[in-house]
């Protein structure tokens, strides 16, 4: 699987540059929507990697290598988790540098991550099923919807933090994210095997 992640890292080099530019812009703007967007965007990087794979027909190659379906499919999930983690670090850094970070925001940041990872979990089986090219519109709607949802949760937390039980919300979000991702992974395996 490490080999696949390295391959995706090489192919996503350009996208990653865009990612870092966004992070720098973010530091100056301190815009909440932008913060949510960058996390959701990071979790969508597997889709960009898959689109690239489809373009060069990498799947044909992958099927000839000593890789399991779990590794081929799983590498896309891992890539999304790693990118989302990197995005959280960048947002935290931007917030801290802008001296606008409040302790309670950390929980909300994690909720935004959960929203992003749920969207990723919805996207990955879809992209293996219908392909990134054909599912483009659907994915865009999902990403914008997720960014807006994440942003409004964030706003809610900032404006009225005491009205929400953050710990409960965080536990629920975490639980849902784990369950949705597990179901998504197994679904994705079925889709991949069927496509063979």
């Amino acid at each position: 699987m490490k080999g696949l992640l390295i391959k995706d890292a090489f192919t996503m080099m350009k996208e990653t540059k865009y990612f870092f530019i966004l992070a720098v812009v973010m530091m100056f703007l301190q815009n909440d929507f932008l913060f949510s967007y960058i996390i959701v965007y990071a979790a969508m990087l597997p889709m960009a990697a898959q689109a690239y794979d489809e373009r060069v027909k990498w799947d044909k190659m992958a099927q000839t290598l000593p890789l399991t379906v779990d590794q081929i499919v799983g590498s896309k999930y891992i890539m999304g988790y790693l990118s989302a983690f990197a995005a959280v670090l960048m947002v935290l850094a931007a917030r801290l540098l802008g001296r606008s970070f409040r302790a309670e925001e950390f929980g909300m940041l994690l909720i935004v991550v959960c929203v992003a990872l749920v969207v990723q979990a919805l996207n990955i089986p879809l992209m293996f099923w219908i392909g990134v090219e054909r599912g483009r519109l659907l994915f865009i709607i999902l990403v914008i919807g997720a960014a807006m949802a994440a942003s409004s949760i964030w706003q809610e937390a900032i404006t009225a933090p005491l009205t929400l039980n953050i710990r409960l919300l965080l536990s629920a979000a975490f639980g849902v994210t784990v369950i949705v991702n597990i179901i998504s992974f197994y679904l994705c395996r079925i889709v991949y095997n069927r496509k063979q």
């Binding site: 390295i6 391959k7 080099m13 690239y52 060069v56 044909k60 190659m61 099927q63 000839t64 290598l65």
Partner: protein, 281 residues
Amino acid sequence: MNAIELKRVTKNYGAFSLKDITLSLPSGCILGLVGENGAGKSTTIRLLLNAAARDAGEITVLGRDVRKKEFRRVKEQIGVVLDEAYYPDVLSAGNVNLIMKHIYRSWQEDIFYDYLKRFALSEKKLFKEYSRGMKMKLAIAAALSHQPKLLVLDEATSGLDPVIRDEILEIFNDFTRDEDHSVLLSSHIISDLEKISDYIAYLHQGKLVFCEEKDRLLEEYGILHTTSAGLSDVPKDAIEAKRQGRYSTEVLVRRSRLSGAFDVEPANLEDIMLFMAKKGE
């Protein structure tokens, strides 16, 4: 031991199906898989790499059923070159080394770099800047750099100029000097197969027409030119297929079933295949 064994393998795709394929590749040999475009060569290769699930039959590669979990380990010993080298454009040969090093346990960096040198491939040049010949050479270098016992080549030489093709065929030939090494080479370029194959399997419209030793094929079959009237003198069991013209008849015959009285011309692989295909129709 056979490196590859297919027994009564069937795969149905609706519009196309591969029917009842039985063939084997003995270790240390080169099997040429030939057939027109869409005959089922790539499907056969996909099935034996377990990249597609068969509907019926048995497939073993290097002694293992391809459906078994442990086949993944066997894949370590199979070098595959497809009709195109499907590497991402932005990779360099150095990147390919880094990726494959983490995919194959038996990856040998030094051998890979030796091949890069031998093929005059730049380590840093991006894949998109390579010519088609260079791309195929990179794919071949990767296929040979993890101690494979079996090479599976799906149209690996098509679209290449004769000089490069010859160079590549020589590499495959060298590979089988070790008696544990075998090659399955699928192509519709019959001259390539004639040059290096020990066995020829001919697929036509999803059916296996024959799978025979090449030398035996060339010894056994011949072409007899005769007339419609003269045809009745030819023993029926010697006639494999015939092509009726207005003034003459060409017959693909089995030499072993004919007496020396007939003037039989040698048949090449292309002749044999064309006759057999016609017979099938």
